[in-house]
């Protein structure tokens, strides 16, 4: 027997549940993950696996401590922690110490998500907060030791502590940066597991677009970042493609900035959000000479309530009140 549900009409039943959306996001992240394994070797499986496992375990432990019965926990499990763990794992490099993904996932799930009320109540993207926590906690491990990939030596990892591709782009060393095609495919590029292969990320993004999990608006973020970098650099369009193809912009724009919970509710608000993201990212990138996408998304996530407060949507059928002059004209 089904339960009798009483609510206001009209009713449209759709199978678009949190669970389904989160599974879609996981599927969309798979190409980037696979390319990460191809480029950086099997250590990636360990790192991403540890991140996912500890994220799920952290959620279960928290709920068990909160005295929820196991049956309820299993029923409530909606794969959001899997997505968080996956994103966090893809945001680390393949050479980090084993305890980094565990600590980051535990921080992301327990502090950022569960303490603030669980799924849909997190004030910033948990995976981002986890990454930033790791970044400021283990700055030596996180900022150095980038692994460079090489298509000629698949799976072989060589460590570089020098400038990343993005750093070279921002300094204007055009002879040092790889070609745009290399940047797009991620061949021979230093970076995190999931961020180097833009083609795979784009594939995942298109999948999410087709499944209507996200819309086209993150493109604004990517384009504005590129354009604003061009503007800052004195309208030198050589900067456009390298600046959007290097660093973690695609990963951030497609998978992190689009988090439902930390996006503005209105259409205009969303435009403001993405444009500001792009402008601040480009500006800070040039100023600091490093990758700032995660920090900028973090800050803009915190600004979302502010945007929602000041961008008030027009109610359906709303008309502007007529001016007093016309009222008087009737008399």
């Amino acid at each position: 027997m089904e339960k009798l549900l009483i609510s206001n009409s009209p009713h449209i039943r759709s199978n678009s549940t949190t669970k389904r959306i989160m599974i879609d996001v996981c599927i969309a992240l798979l190409p980037a993950f696979l390319m990460g394994i191809v480029y950086f070797g099997p250590m990636c499986i360990l790192i991403v696996g540890l991140a996912v496992l500890s994220a799920v375990l952290a959620e279960f432990c928290y709920k068990l401590i909160m005295k929820k019965p196991m049956r309820v926990i299993l029923k409530e499990f909606d794969y959001t922690s899997v997505v968080t763990g996956l994103l966090l794992g893809l945001n680390l490099h393949s050479t980090v110490a084993w305890y980094l993904p565990i600590l980051g996932s535990a921080f992301a799930i327990i502090v950022v998500k569960m303490i603030f009320g669980g799924t849909g109540k997190n004030f910033v993207n948990p995976a981002l907060a986890g990454r930033i926590f790791l970044f400021i906690s283990f700055s030596a491990i996180m900022a150095n030791g980038w692994a460079t990939t090489s298509i000629r030596n698949i799976g072989g990892v060589s460590l570089t502590t020098g400038a990343t591709a993005l750093g070279s782009v921002l300094k204007g060393n055009f002879d040092k940066i790889p070609s745009n095609l290399d940047l797009f495919l991620g061949t021979g590029i230093a970076g995190c597991i999931g961020e180097t292969c833009k083609a795979a990320l784009l594939l995942g993004g298109i999948y999410l677009l087709v499944r209507r999990v996200i819309d086209w608006k993150p493109v604004i973020y990517i384009l504005v970042t590129g354009l604003w970098t061009v503007v800052i650099k004195g309208f030198d369009f050589n900067y456009f493609l390298p600046s959007i193809l290097s660093g973690g912009l695609f990963l951030g724009a497609i998978f992190m900035a689009t988090d439902y919970v930390t996006c503005p509710n209105t259409k205009i608000g969303t435009y403001i959000y993405y444009v500001l993201l792009g402008v601040i990212t480009a500006w800070l990138r040039v100023r600091t000479g490093g990758e700032v996408v995660s920090f900028v998304i973090f800050v803009m996530n915190l600004c979302v309530p502010l945007i929602d407060r000041f961008v008030v949507p027009k109610p359906f059928g709303y008309q502007k009140p007529e001016k007093k002059k016309s009222e008087k004209g009737g008399n």
Binding site: L103, V111, F133, I136, S137, F138, S139
Partner: protein, 219 residues
């Protein structure tokens, strides 16, 4: 109303802990808890100023006109802070440099001014001194504990002695200070709620036992 000295001490150290319960003096709490030693130094400094200013303010409580009481309190507190600074600069310069600008800022520490306003201006000299001691010790205890927590996690040391090389630098940053503060308040409130609920249960049990005895007697 006569309040026992033991109660006053316990109030300061545990029940009305200035940092975790009254949330006073948060500025030095957030800034100085990077190391356990800072907590001890700051705690002792505040305890000294608190006891002295409480005694003087309490002794002068009937003389100070209520309209100008805050400037008068500040004057008294500033006197002791100046003495303390001179003594520390002369004999313990390392602690003086570690506390930095937070030492002169004790003058406007709301913990000291708050106790002067809330307690010393209404109570006799001896009680005020005991209250100052309790509050100061409570301040020192919580600062030292928070400092130790942040020092162990952030630098892998305790009182400057290295325990291990593993460190989470997050806890040495300002964000870590706020995070640690929140955790400590949460744990403190959790424990105090647990104790009060246990006491309530005990009281209910005693009450019902007594009731049963009375019923048996009647029967």
């Amino acid at each position: 109303m006569k309040v026992k000295a033991k109660d006053l001490l316990l109030d300061g150290i545990l029940r009305q802990n200035p940092v975790l319960k009254l949330v006073l003096g948060t500025c030095p709490t957030l800034a100085l808890t990077t190391a356990a030693m800072n907590g001890v130094g700051m705690g002792l400094a505040v305890t000294f100023v608190l006891i002295c200013s409480n005694v003087i303010i309490s002794a002068l409580r009937n003389i100070i006109p209520s309209k100008v009481r805050i400037p008068a309190y500040i004057l008294i507190i500033a006197t002791f802070v100046t003495i303390l600074r001179m003594v520390l600069n002369k004999f313990l310069p390392s602690i003086a440099t570690a506390l930095g600008s937070y030492l002169p800022l004790i003058v406007v520490n709301c913990l000291i001014l708050g106790r002067a306003e809330a307690f010393a201006s209404k109570n006799p000299v001896l009680d005020s001194a005991v209250d100052g001691l309790g509050m100061g010790l409570g301040f020192m205890l919580s600062l030292t504990l928070m400092g130790a927590f942040r020092e162990i996690l952030g630098t892998g040391c305790i009182f400057g002695v290295e325990l291990w090389s593993f460190k989470i630098e997050f806890f040495t940053h300002q964000a870590g200070a706020l995070f640690t503060f929140a955790i400590f308040i949460a744990v403190f409130v959790g424990i105090s709620n647990l104790i009060s609920s246990m006491r309530a249960k005990k009281m209910i049990k005693e009450y019902s036992d007594k009731n049963n005895e009375v019923k048996e007697e009647i029967a």
